[in-house]
């Protein structure tokens, strides 16, 4: 896979910059600053120090022997992003972007959040760096992710509830973009996934690629003999943990599998499986796969996990799908909740519902693989935030 910086922000035909004209100068300023600082030794050293001493990198690669034994097939390894400060991979990106915002002299940071993990990670990074943050969150998501709302408030973020549209992540992004249009001078928009206009998809990928880089090194060391993983699995909503996992591993011979949220089933229309069931279109500044109706109106999504509840997907995933570099499949709410309970029970690790979709795929394929084969699952976050949701789900039958 090419390490090149994509020309015009395009991954094949995907990506680009479909934005109101007012945002063009700030997006260009962002790109320029990012390209300047990403190779700047003092920026890299500062980010590295925060990742190590504040966020807790590197994260372990854990051999889930009990789960592997119960399934009776391939050996399953978990990339423990759930152990990071804040409880998810999101901090990799928010530290990078908040440091960038600071170097750019921006005094105000805005962000969107779905499950609240990116909002929490933004609030943490901004608190650590002494910056102000404001977080847009759909009111539906605020109701189902109450603990994260409380955490953000305590961390000093100003909450901006969003009551438009479906009152979820997509609408929080719309509102954050509208805020940015009105405040281009002093405001930095800290986007949480590998979506949006160029350069966000590239920049977020670059801040998240530490996941895949570490997996490569750790598998070689732990598995011995310079070994590689046979299959690497990550969940895909907007796709930031997945692109960070896949990008350094693409073209190395490892089979890469992205798992989307099939909700109540792809046939029901109640899902968020953009790559599996969507079509090309333009939303949030990018050309990518979208869940839309025949008229090109964006449709509402459903997933038991708020973090996967998004009708678009990062443009680089759309490109990987079409080029065949990654296979994209899906797991239903029920498969994800089963996987959540199974990992909790066998390993004493409570995974985020988002990551549970990736675990579900490992549960599906491990029994058909040899005991000598290796699966790595990116465990993108921990599931403390989800215990109530899971209880509700189990109590409701489904």
């Amino acid at each position: 896979m090419s390490r090149k910086y994509p020309k015009n922000g395009r991954f094949g035909e995907f990506g680009g910059r479909y934005i109101p004209e007012t945002l063009v100068p700030p997006v260009e300023e962002l790109e320029e600053s990012y390209l300047r600082f990403r190779d700047d030794p003092s920026f890299k050293a500062e980010l590295d120090s925060y990742l190590r001493n504040y966020a807790g990198r590197p994260t372990p690669l854990y051999h889930a022997k009990n789960l592997s034994g119960e399934l009776g097939g391939a050996q399953i390894y978990l990339k423990r992003e759930d152990l990071l400060h804040g409880g998810a991979h999101k901090i990799n990106n928010t530290l990078g972007q908040a440091l960038l915002a600071k170097r750019m002299g921006k005094r105000r940071v805005i962000a969107e959040t779905g499950a609240g993990q990116h909002g929490v990670a933004t609030a943490m990074a901004c608190a650590a760096l002494g910056m102000r943050s404001e977080v847009y969150m759909g009111s539906t998501d605020m109701a189902r992710q109450r603990p994260n709302v409380l955490r953000m408030g305590m961390l000093g973020a100003v909450m901006r509830p969003v009551d438009s549209g479906s009152r979820t992540l997509k609408d929080a992004i719309n509102e954050a973009i509208r805020d940015w249009i009105a405040n281009v001078g002093d405001t930095y928009y800290l986007l949480g996934s590998a979506v949006g206009p160029h350069p966000y998809p590239v920049m977020v990928r670059d801040f998240q690629r530490v996941i895949g880089d570490e997996i490569r090194r750790q598998v070689a060391r732990q598995a011995g003999g310079g070994g590689t993983a046979d299959v690497v699995i990550a969940c895909v909503g907007g796709g930031s943990n997945a692109i960070g996992t896949f990008y350094p591993l693409a073209g190395t011979g490892t089979r890469l599998v992205g798992i989307e949220a099939a909700g109540r089933g792809l046939g029901t229309g109640m899902h968020a499986a953009t790559l599996s069931a969507g079509r090309r279109g333009v939303l949030h500044g990018m050309m990518t796969y979208l869940l839309q109706d025949a008229e090109g109106q964006i449709t509402e999504t459903h997933s038991v996990s708020a973090g996967l509840d998004y009708p678009g997907v990062g443009p680089e995933h759309a490109y990987y799908k079409e080029s065949g570099a990654v296979s994209y499949r899906s797991a239903t709410d029920s498969e994800a909740v089963d996987a959540f309970m199974r990992l909790t029970r066998t390993e004493g690790i409570i995974p985020a519902l988002e990551s549970s979709h990736a675990i579900a795929e490992a549960v599906r394929i491990a029994p058909q693989m040899k005991r000598s084969e290796r699966i790595v699952v990116t465990l993108s976050g921990r599931g403390d935030k989800d215990v109530e949701e899971v209880q509700r789900y189990l109590a409701g039958g489904r």
Partner: protein, 312 residues
Amino acid sequence: MQAAGKEKRGRTAEGHNSGNSSDSYSSSRIASKFAELRARNERGLVTYAMTGFPSDRVSVSAVSGMIRGGADVIELGFPFSDPLADGPAIQEASSGALGRGATFERFLRTASRIRRANRDVPLVLMTYTNILYNLGYDRAASMISDAGIDGIILPDMAVDESAPYVAAARRCGLDTIFLASPNTPAGRLRRIANISTGFLYMVAVYGTTGVRSARAGGRASKAGGSSVAGYALDAIRRAKRTAVRSGARLPVGVGFGISSPADVRQYVGAGADAVIVGSAYAKITKESAPKDVEKNVSTFTRRLKAATRNAS
């Protein structure tokens, strides 16, 4: 779809570059309208109606009121689920129209009806990129042109991504009206002016439609009960200087956050060739009883239009 506006034009894909006469920018109804306004020493009033809001019928009444009140160009909105350049009034109109089952077919029927009743008024479609991308730009452009529409505005279409869209619009003789912003640098403003036909749409404020930003800086001049930011006035002057090619000048329209005759006078005084009013109409349409929409819209339009006449 009936070919209500079929007879009008026929231009090449490079039409915006090739000519050197005053109508090289456009051979459409829009260009004729601006020529007519110039001859009368008057500025244009461009008004916006969200089709299907609060219903197809009432939105047609609103357009009739605009035309009766003296609007020079009518923008017909087609709703998108995620209107990220729009403020609350047009967001609400969009979701209202979608809630009542707005489809592009219905939009085209409505536009054709308006065209049949009004042969000469320029009609411009305003929607978002995904609606036209979803249809295919070529198919979309011919449907739009067949309905008698003269031009298109897509607030999320940056010039950098616009080649296939512009080519399709040119093939059907549709004007492509691009937006520029007060923070658009000189070189980019030139590119936007070069690819725009009909008129150039200068955004007056840092913000979405209907919203005025207090935070974004810029001096506000408070004369005449209006509050027009100094940066907006500078932007109009800059756009007027830039939008000149081969001795011809592309008209500059100014929009976003304009809602009163006092605002109109300010922008006209600053040299705008046209002012564009949208959200204020969405509010009037929403707050009026359906039977009063045409009358109320026409009264409001007459007041705005008067402010475009006694200019400079």
